[in-house]
Every structure is written in structure tokens, then in C-alpha cells.
């Protein structure tokens, strides 16, 4: 198994460390050529969705990546990655890959002083650490979307077929549950 990690901006290194810890091969995706090297799953990290989204288009990664996800490539988006995958963004006109039937709200909890840490149940794994940094949440999800975590009545993790998203940052903690869940989707 080989994982491509979108490495245009944000916390991609943290995902690489997580993959290494679980013994999973990974490499950085920075240009079109990298998308043609053959890989089994994609991680879109946290960062700024406006930056990553813009660079996806500018570097001509956008259509290819969108096609690959549409064709069933397993993808895992954290925070900004979730925004990039959402079909609707409540408080933003910009739309990006728009492959997942969820409506998200950007910066839903407020500015940095409203960033927070908590523990919450994730997909039957029990309580796991969850860090929310200027985070979004899922306002609503299509019926076939599986809700994997809810914090304060807001959906913060979900899955639709080959797509997994979290509003929080599992890559920032020692815990490996969410990444294991992703690798088990293959």
C-alpha cells in the first residue's frame, strides 16, 4: 500500500510521520507528475483551504485528482482537506473538489482563541483526542453518509464510500485510530 499526501501547504509532514509510524509507504504530491506515479490512497492535510485549493488549480492537479476520487480512490481529508472535498460550503462562495455530499461551515467555531481540544467517540474506537484549529464542522450530510463522530451536536467526522473526513486533526496526536480506520477502508 502506498499513500500520496498532498503537500502544497499545511501540516502534511505530520501525516507522513503518522504513515511511517503505522508502517505505511507514503510520498509527497506537489505536481502533476506525482499523480501519475501510482498510489492507493490520498491524504489531504490541514492548512488553509483557500491556499491548497488555489494551488490545486494553478498546478493543474485539480481535474486529475477530482477524477481519481470520482473513480473510487480512497481519500482522507482533515480540516482544510474536508472543506476541499465538500460539495457545499455554507459561508464561502468558493468550491473545490466537491466530491463528497456534505455541507460544511468554515471557521465554524470562530477565530484562533476559539480553537479547542477535547476527547470524543470515533467510529466505535472509543474516546480519542481531537484538536480543532479554526476548524470547520459538517452542518449536514447526505443520507448515505456515515456519521463517525459528533462533538457538541456537530458532525466532526464522516465517511461516504471512499471518502473520509475529519474536522479535527488526528495527525497532531500520538493516537493512530483515524489513520488506521482510513487504511482499513482499502
Amino acid at each position: 500500500m502506498k499513500i500520496g499526501i498532498l503537500s502544497l501547504q499545511g501540516a502534511f509532514l505530520e501525516h507522513e510521520i503518522k504513515c511511517a509510524k503505522l508502517g505505511v509507504d507514503c510520498f509527497e504530491i506537489r505536481n502533476k507528475g506525482d499523480l501519475k506515479t501510482g498510489f492507493d490512497g490520498l491524504i489531504i492535510p490541514g492548512g488553509e483551504s483557500t491556499v491548497i485549493g488555489k494551488l490545486l488549480r494553478e498546478l493543474d492537479l485539480f481535474d486529475i485528482m477530482r477524477g481519481m476520487i470520482g473513480d473510487g480512490l480512497p481519500v482522507f481529508g482533515t480540516c482544510a482537506g474536508m472543506i476541499l472535498l465538500a460539495k457545499n460550503i455554507l459561508n464561502d462562495d468558493r468550491l473545490y473538489l466537491a466530491t463528497m455530499d456534505i455541507t460544511v461551515k468554515r471557521n465554524a467555531y470562530g477565530r484562533q482563541r476559539d480553537s479547542f481540544y477535547t476527547v470524543g467517540d470515533f467510529a466505535g474506537y472509543g474516546k480519542i483526542p481531537m484538536t480543532f484549529i479554526r476548524a470547520p464542522y459538517i452542518e449536514s450530510a447526505a443520507a448515505e453518509t456515515e456519521i463517525l463522530a459528533v462533538v457538541d451536536n456537530k458532525i466532526v467526522a464522516a465517511r461516504q464510500k471512499n471518502q473520509l473526513v475529519t474536522a479535527f486533526h488526528p495527525e497532531l496526536h500520538e493516537d493512530t485510530c483515524v489513520h488506521e480506520y482510513f487504511f482499513n477502508m482499502f
Binding site: A11, N31, G46, V51, L59, A80, R111, T131, R134
Partner: protein, 291 residues
């Protein structure tokens, strides 16, 4: 400050990695920066080149301007307070700024003490010329470091000097035997625990960006190749002929800093860069402020 809060603040800096933070002086410039791919903006009344030209005492910006910029963009907004001016910092915290830059670009308010940043909920970024300075700021609670460079000059030489110095000192610490670290801590004037962290991890305990003098995509890529985790661009964008195009080119250059062919394309037809001034030609070295 709660350990948990400090973690969250360091985490925000992690999310900015691989990005470009741009100085802006109006909501319109902030939108241009966001469209161009800035991962955050620094809201201020005057960019460093103009502060340098105007002379006189330079202070925190008008909170009203900062709030207008906050309203104009969805990305994090930073703002500067004077070194040691903890009341300016409290004001910035009160208007929910995402990051405070305790900055040598403004006139220092205190020539001995920096702000005790552990007492704040919001994160601070501070400048540093070398490892000792960086670790002293981190010990005071900084969540992010930027090498100082020389702001408002468009001259990269000091940014290179400071980042190289920092990296060399990190390598030196990493190569020491454990019993040498106590003496190193004494020389660097920082707690042993921070020195031990650098020794073990071969990096600072917080994210480190480069700043001060970045004017071209090549400058930005140079700082990334030298080991910066992202860059601040101050005067380099809105003092240039075509800010929009230059800003976007610098963002793409930082994301692909090792791709020389792409860097060549990005460097084409950007129009005139900021004129800049050489370090020998300036009277005020901002980097000397704070230690």
C-alpha cells in the same frame, strides 16, 4: 497559560507551514493577498519600507483597520505590537486577532523585557537572529519564530544570515554529548529543557518561518531550501509593480521550492520588484531591536 492552550497555539503555526504570510495595509490588499494564496495576512498601517522611510515612532495599528481586514478575509489575521508592549498585545487579543507579532519592525516599548507571552490566550510569533534569541522567545511563550532578516529592505542577505546562523547552531547542539548541553544552556541563556529538546529533535520546538527582505519567488524558495518552514513577505509584494502576480508567484514558489524549472516560469514577467536598499545604505537596523 495552560499547557493545552500553548499546544493549540503551536498547532495553528503548524497549519501555516509551507505558506506565505503577507503584509497588508487595507482590506483591499488583504483580499488580493487571500486570492493570491496567502496562508495568513499581517494587518498593519504601514509596510516596513514605509515605516523606514517615514522614521519616527512606529506603534500598533489602529484596531479599526485591523477589524476591517479581519472582516475582509477568511484566513488568519495577524497584527504587530511593540516589543514589550503588553497592553498593545492585550488590545490585539481583545479584538480576537489570530496571532500577535511582537515585532522589531515597530519601535520597541521596552528595551529590557519582552512580553510574558505565557499570560495570553492567543499565540505570538517573535523574531530571532540566532538560536539563543529564538529559545528565549519560546521560553517566554512564543508559539512560532521567524528569523528576523532586515524588514523593508528587499535585501535578502540578513534573512539568509540569520537562518543560516540558526541552523548552524541547531546542528552544533545536535552533535553535542549530553553533558555538554548544560554549558550550552548557560551560554545561550535559556533553560536546559529547551536545549535538550533541540539536541534530541534537531529542530526548534515551534514552527520557524523566514522573514525580512524576501522580494522574489527565488528569494522565497532560497529561504525554504535553507530550511524555513514558510515565509513572511512584507514590503516585497505591495511595493512591487504587479503585487497580484508577484504574490501568487511567491506562493507557488514556496509550495514547489525545489522545482527550478517551475521557479524559472514563475520568475518571468513579474514586472519590477521593489527597489530595495542594501544593508550598508540603511541607518536603522531593525534586527538589532530585542535580544
Amino acid at each position: 497559560m495552560l499547557a493545552e492552550r500553548y499546544e493549540l497555539n503551536k498547532n495553528l503555526a503548524q497549519m501555516l507551514k509551507g505558506g506565505v504570510i503577507m503584509d497588508v495595509t487595507t482590506p483591499e490588499q488583504a483580499q488580493i493577498a487571500e486570492e493570491a494564496g496567502a496562508c495568513a495576512v499581517m494587518a498593519l498601517e504601514r509596510i516596513p519600507a514605509d515605516i523606514r522611510a517615514a522614521g519616527g515612532v512606529s506603534r500598533m495599528s489602529d484596531p479599526q483597520l485591523i477589524k476591517e481586514i479581519q472582516a475582509a478575509v477568511s484566513i488568519p489575521v495577524m497584527a504587530k505590537c511593540r516589543i514589550g508592549h503588553f497592553v498593545e498585545a492585550r488590545i490585539l487579543e481583545a479584538i480576537e486577532i489570530d496571532f500577535i507579532d511582537e515585532s522589531e519592525v515597530l519601535s520597541p516599548a521596552d528595551d529590557r523585557y519582552h512580553i510574558d507571552k505565557t499570560q495570553f490566550v492567543v499565540p505570538f510569533v517573535c523574531g530571532a537572529k540566532d538560536l539563543g534569541e529564538a529559545l528565549r522567545r519560546i521560553n517566554e511563550g512564543a508559539s512560532m519564530i521567524r528569523t528576523k532578516g532586515e524588514p523593508g529592505t528587499g535585501d535578502i542577505v540578513q534573512a539568509v544570515r540569520h537562518l543560516r546562523m540558526l541552523q548552524a547552531e541547531i546542528r552544533r547542539l545536535a552533535s553535542m554529548s549530553r553533558d555538554e548541553l548544560y554549558e550550552a544552556a548557560k551560554q545561550l541563556q535559556v533553560p536546559y529543557q529547551l536545549v535538550a529538546f533541540v539536541h534530541e529533535n534537531k529542530k526548534l520546538p515551534v514552527v520557524n518561518f523566514a522573514a525580512g527582505g524576501v522580494a522574489t519567488p527565488a528569494d522565497a524558495a532560497l529561504m525554504m531550501q535553507l530550511g524555513a518552514e514558510g515565509v513572511f513577505v512584507g514590503s516585497g509584494i505591495f511595493k512591487a509593480e504587479n503585487p497580484q502576480k508577484r504574490a501568487a508567484a511567491i506562493v507557488t514558489a514556496v509550495a514547489n521550492y525545489q522545482d527550478a524549472k517551475l521557479l524559472a516560469e514563475l520568475s518571468e514577467g513579474l514586472g519590477a520588484a521593489m527597489v530595495g536598499i542594501n544593508e550598508q545604505e540603511i541607518e536603522l537596523l531593525m534586527a538589532e531591536r530585542g535580544n
